[in-house]
């Protein structure tokens, strides 16, 4: 998920790179991005009750990230070139399947 979608779409120099970390969000490496998005440490087993964060493992519809990518009631991300629908669907499926750290 990180190498396929997040890194190429979100971590450019002026956005969520380690360099800029717009909004305090650094998605440049897999473990850090996982921690930011889910509130969990990569490698830990998904807990039964996940803290509400950008991603709620098991439920795409309750995940802010999906609404952000769709631009629903908030600015669409990435703002310069929104993700194609099929990639948003992949992110949603990843969340629905438990948001593993991959």
């Amino acid at each position: 998920m990180h190498g396929a979608i997040l890194q190429p779409a979100c971590t450019t120099a002026g956005c969520h790179s380690k360099l800029t970390a717009l909004g305090g969000i650094d998605l440049s490496d897999r473990e850090g991005a996982y921690n930011v998005l889910t509130g969990h440490v990569c490698g830990d087993p998904p807990p039964g009750s996940a803290p509400r964060n950008y991603v709620t493992p098991g439920s795409a519809e309750y995940s802010t990230l999906i609404h952000q990518l769709r631009g629903e009631n908030r600015n669409v991300m990435p703002p310069d070139m929104p993700l194609p629908a099929v990639e948003i669907e992949l992110v949603g499926r990843w969340i629905d399947l438990g948001a593993a750290c991959d």
Binding site: A4, T11, T12, A13, M81, P84, E87
Partner: protein, 366 residues
């Protein structure tokens, strides 16, 4: 002291790059005729400065500081300043902004054979934070040995010669293939030139510290071979690049074609790259495709119009292509000045739910 305090605020670096539209169309067949860097872009040679005044713009003195002061022969200086205003429309939002996009200072010191080159600027940002001292950066710095023939070896920070080095860092063949803003790696490179061809090979490693840039931290090699023919009105290039990071391995091969039709004064420019991305931990691979097709024409001295089509397919097994079509109008009223209006429509493969960008850029180079 006042100058020292003011200087950092002038340094806003984005991406200082070449105008590939000028190759073949202005009687110049290679990047190093007008630029010191073998990849093009950045600091102009004396010939490039002459061309800026006598061929590309509507006149003026292209020399450093308009000829008001001539640096000693061992020192070459320059700067690129760009301010931009844009309106971006994608239903239901409209985004309007104006900000300094680029301020890069260029320094090259040495002899024609041995030199040190450096770019100093600041990361471009629309917001005032982080503070300016944290935004200072150097996109390129390298030492170079160069023969009169153009054959060179250089070491330091720079992009490998690969692809069409458009001045537009958001071109998909740049943005999605590892050539976006501040993604320059460190490495060594060598190249050689003949009357009708040139070849370059580069080996690179990641930036040693995160504050130096962004992008994938990969090590690898890249090669580029270009051959010109039809009295230097056409060129064809092949290229390959391998990059290995902790997360993935990317192997790309590509081709570039350039054709100038003197009767119509029309330049066609195209690039296509196929990339195989293999994921390290979870396994699996995917094939990706990036392409660029453009046409440009000087309709009058100092006026260039163009159109381009960008395509990015991050996974050929999925219907997930991104496309953009753009119209460019560039006006060079005098040497050192450029006004550039870009209008771009972006969307998925079928341009469903399109976004519109209209961007006006004022460019001054010292």
């Amino acid at each position: 002291m006042r100058l020292a305090l003011a200087l950092p605020f002038l340094l806003v670096a984005s991406s200082a790059d070449a105008y590939p539209q000028f190759q073949l169309t202005t009687g110049t067949d290679r990047c190093i005729a007008c630029h010191f860097s073998p990849a093009g872009g950045g600091l102009l040679t004396d010939y490039g400065r002459d061309e800026a005044g006598s061929t590309i713009s509507r006149g003026g003195d292209g020399r450093f500081a308009h000829g008001a002061w001539t640096p000693p022969s061992w020192l070459q200086l320059g700067a690129d300043l760009r301010g931009v205003t844009f309106a971006k429309l994608r239903e239901p939002d409209t985004d309007v902004a104006a900000f300094p996009m680029q301020t890069d200072l260029y320094v090259r010191a040495g002899t024609p054979t041995y030199s040190f080159a450096m770019t100093l600027g600041s990361r471009s940002t629309r917001s005032p934070s982080p503070p300016i001292q944290e935004r200072l950066t150097s996109r390129e710095h390298y030492v170079m040995y160069e023969r009169e023939s153009g054959t060179y070896v250089r070491a330091g920070r720079f992009f490998p010669v690969y692809g069409i080095r458009s001045q537009d860092h958001t071109a998909y063949v740049r943005r999605y293939l590892g050539f976006h803003t501040l993604e320059e790696p460190y490495g060594v490179a060598a190249g050689t030139f003949d009357v009708a061809w040139e070849a370059h090979v580069s080996a690179f490693v990641p930036r040693p510290a995160d504050f130096l840039g962004s992008g994938v931290k990969a090590s690898g090699i890249a090669g580029y071979y270009e051959r010109r023919f039809l009295d230097d009105t056409a060129a064809f290039a092949t290229q390959a690049r391998v990059g290995v990071s902790e997360d993935d391995t990317r192997v790309a091969v590509g081709a570039i074609g350039k054709r100038f039709m003197p009767e119509a004064e029309l330049l066609l420019l195209g690039e296509v790259d196929l990339q195989r991305q293999s994921f390290a931990d979870v396994g699996g691979t995917r094939w990706q495709l990036a392409s660029y097709l453009a046409a440009s024409k000087f309709v009058a001295r100092g006026w260039m119009i163009g159109a381009a089509l960008h395509h990015w397919h991050p996974d050929l097994t999925l219907r997930s292509a991104r496309d953009a079509f753009e119209i460019n109008v560039q006006f060079f009223p005098r040497a050192h000045f450029e006004l550039h209006l870009l209008t771009r429509i972006t969307g998925e493969g079928d341009f469903d739910d399109p976004g519109l960008l209209s961007l006006l850029q004022l460019h001054y180079y010292l």
